[in-house]
Symmetry: C2
Subunit: 154 residues, 2 copies
Amino acid sequence: MKTRTAKPQAAAAPLGLDQQLCFALYSTGLAMTKLYRKLLAGLELTYPQYLVMLVLWERDGLAVSEIGERLFLDSATLTPLLKRLEAAGLVSRTRSAEDERQVVIGLTAQGRALKKRAAAVPGAVFCATGCERDELLALKRQLESLRERLADSA
Amino acid sequence: MKTRTAKPQAAAAPLGLDQQLCFALYSTGLAMTKLYRKLLAGLELTYPQYLVMLVLWERDGLAVSEIGERLFLDSATLTPLLKRLEAAGLVSRTRSAEDERQVVIGLTAQGRALKKRAAAVPGAVFCATGCERDELLALKRQLESLRERLADSA
DNA sequence: TGCAATTGAATAGCACGCTATTTAAATTGC
DNA sequence: GCAATTTAAATAGCGTGCTATTCAATTGCA
């Protein structure tokens, strides 16, 4: 009885295994944003706002939809978030001249300046994980491949 | 130039590695809840509501705080969620006789009955991951240990 | 015993993140 | 060349998830 047929999947994971992985994913994500909340408090950024800033620090002047593609978020989430970043003086929102449907997001001087102050965050997070670099890299790859498969099924 | 010293962690992960892991965690979590949204639509449950039901199906009659301990959520999140489950006729909320501060959550007949209909969910999720059981178990353990370390730092 | 400190739940207020819908601009197709 | 479709962003409405606060019940200690 060492091997089991792979067939009865529902029976093989009664209300347990898969749920536990998903719950681990869910609760670890919450714990992560909680850590970021503390680390980003001084910058007055939330974690999703920080992600948007990371994207813009890498490449300025993207359309809302381009930011959304990188972060897997859509305009319903990004529009209000970007308005808050605009209100905070970190980004500008301008309709594109070539395509008036698009809104181009640009960094302000203040937004660019924030990059320096954010430089300490990654190290602090890395530290908090208490993991080796290779461990984190491996975990990242596993999560990305899982993300892809989940997205395909959804 | 193949090897790099591991010392300057902040410099070694300039705005990259740790951030990438965290983003992988974040975005995979979103993808996961998106899949659950589809799978749970027929049960009229959100993913957090499903988690609460899982806890109650395992052990009925828990206090709000006990549910919160299992799910790493507090009363500010659970109270409105539980009221929605109550409004849906799935649970009852009663103040404990021994300690009137506590509210005991009990399954209704309808809540218990829902367990059968939810039985297909884990299999469907397992299927969607496209992973081996061992792979998922390993990932789960890694996430749990990461969660613990993040919680300690937060 | 009596009163302060603690605890459990609820509430207020904010920021996501989603689906569904709306509006306006660009593209297409005939 | 113009109607029909498609696209980008915004909006409406809902359900988390959080911090901070409030209120009532209980505990603990002088």
